[in-house]
Amino acid sequence: MCLAVPARITKIEGDLAKVDFGSYVNQEVNVALVEAKEGDYVLVHAGYAIQVLDKKEAEETLQLWNELLKMEELNT
């Protein structure tokens, strides 16, 4: 039930947006709960975008853990 899938907004009209889930899957979702613009990635849950995804934060998480693990690996 709390499943949410990332999708890219291709067009916004009022509270509704067309999103691209990849693999040519396009759907209309409600974007009333988020401040999103065309091109943003959002998390879609049951037909609603519930949050905008932050690509920079995603990259930082990966980078942080890659560095942390590298340090740990060097320590052994």
Partner: protein, 361 residues
């Protein structure tokens, strides 16, 4: 988005598992998540088989369909048989009530329709203005704002049967269960996109319990386990956010404001767990016309939550594994589910049945 596939990178997973092994706790450490989607990730990707023996991942009551009490199903069945069209999510249909499920109500002539989104339910009601509709709204904080948004502008022939539940009170309940070991929580990422971090602070500060909000890719879950083990190794209890790409500390303020406009926080019944204080959402007094129970003069009665032999209440709190239930894959299976945990795609029993749970002993 290639960043997304990086959260499934097998090489990074291997390095994380090695790191987790190096952190080797001196005694059994139990990490508890409270989300059906986390259980899916853990089981589908076989993460339990990768973790050291002393690190156990258990599943709490994170399946909103599983925790629906029979009394709520009973009243939906009653509405359907009274001639009100029920719209709801597919998983809800086969959840057993005291006497029958919504699927059985449908067989008896009730009009029960499955929708993917609450928006479909609104569209249906608008398309048939002479028919009376009730949307059976279930789900945790992730789903409740969607209901709130539609309640505020619903057409006159659509009312709502709300069975939303809140996750932090269920986590608090788990900590009060005798002889249930929990050493850290993986908090549910998508609930947290809405509620943010603050509602979990009580666990790190008052209960001395590490909490890591995590995403749903295998790398997310492995990082969360690693973070919890790092905390327990240093005897720390911090609230950390692994899922910063989706969870902001303050949550989704628009969604929270809609919830506050539509709902009051009240005591709620959870299947198998009983009544938990401040754990459910009820429509505010001004929405009498949108409240299906008030509109159609119905009252919830006491329901029968468990069938004889069903151990759903113990599976739901992570006290036993599905394979320890005598009905599991015997008389209770995905084709003929007996308990709610086998009905829903997010139920622990269903996930284990379909993806093969491990550590059966």
């Amino acid at each position: 988005m290639s960043t997304l596939t990086s959260f499934r990178d097998p090489e990074l997973a291997k390095r994380l598992v090695n790191d987790i092994k190096k952190l080797h706790p001196p005694h059994k450490t139990v990490v508890c998540h409270v989300c059906g989607t986390h259980e899916w990730t853990v089981t589908h990707f076989g993460l339990r088989t990768l973790l050291p023996d002393l690190v156990e991942v258990i599943a709490g009551p994170g399946c909103p369909v599983c925790v629906l009490p029979a009394a709520d199903i009973d009243v939906a069945v009653e509405l359907a048989l009274k001639g009100v069209t029920i719209t709801t999510f597919g998983d809800v249909l086969r959840v057993p009530g005291s006497q029958s499920s919504l699927v059985e109500a449908k067989a008896q002539g009730g009009d029960v329709r499955v929708v993917y989104s609450i928006q479909n339910a609104v569209k249906m009601a608008k398309k048939e203005p002479d028919r009376e509709f009730a949307f059976f709204a279930i789900g945790f904080e992730t789903t409740a704002p969607l209901t709130a948004n539609e309640v505020l502008k619903a057409p006159p022939n659509l009312s709502f049967l709300t069975s939303h539940r809140l996750i932090p009170p269920a986590m608090e309940f788990l900590l009060g269960v005798g002889d249930l070991q929990i050493d850290g929580f993986i908090a549910p990422g998508h609930v947290s996109t809405i509620i943010g971090l603050e509602p979990y602070r009580v666990f790190s500060e008052a209960y001395n319990m590490p909490v890591v909000v995590a995403g749903f890719e295998p790398i997310d879950v492995l990082i969360a386990v690693d973070m919890i083990l790092r905390q327990t190794k240093k005897s720390e209890a911090k609230l950390e956010n692994e899922y910063s790409r989706a969870v902001k500390p303050e949550g989704n303020l628009k969604a929270l404001s809609l919830m506050a406009q539509a709902f009051n926080v009240v005591e709620g019944r959870w299947r198998g767990l009983g009544r938990l204080p401040q754990s459910a959402l009820a429509l505010k007094e001004e929405f009498v016309e949108q409240d299906a129970l008030q509109k159609h003069h119905l009252r919830k009665k006491k329901g029968k939550d468990l069938l004889p032999g069903c151990q759903c209440h113990l599976v739901m709190i992570g006290k036993i594994k599905p394979s320890e239930c005598p009905l599991f894959m015997e008389t209770c299976n995905p084709n003929e589910p007996k308990g709610a945990c086998m009905v829903s795609n997010e139920g622990t029993c269903r996930i284990w049945a379909q993806h093969g749970g491990t550590r059966i002993q």
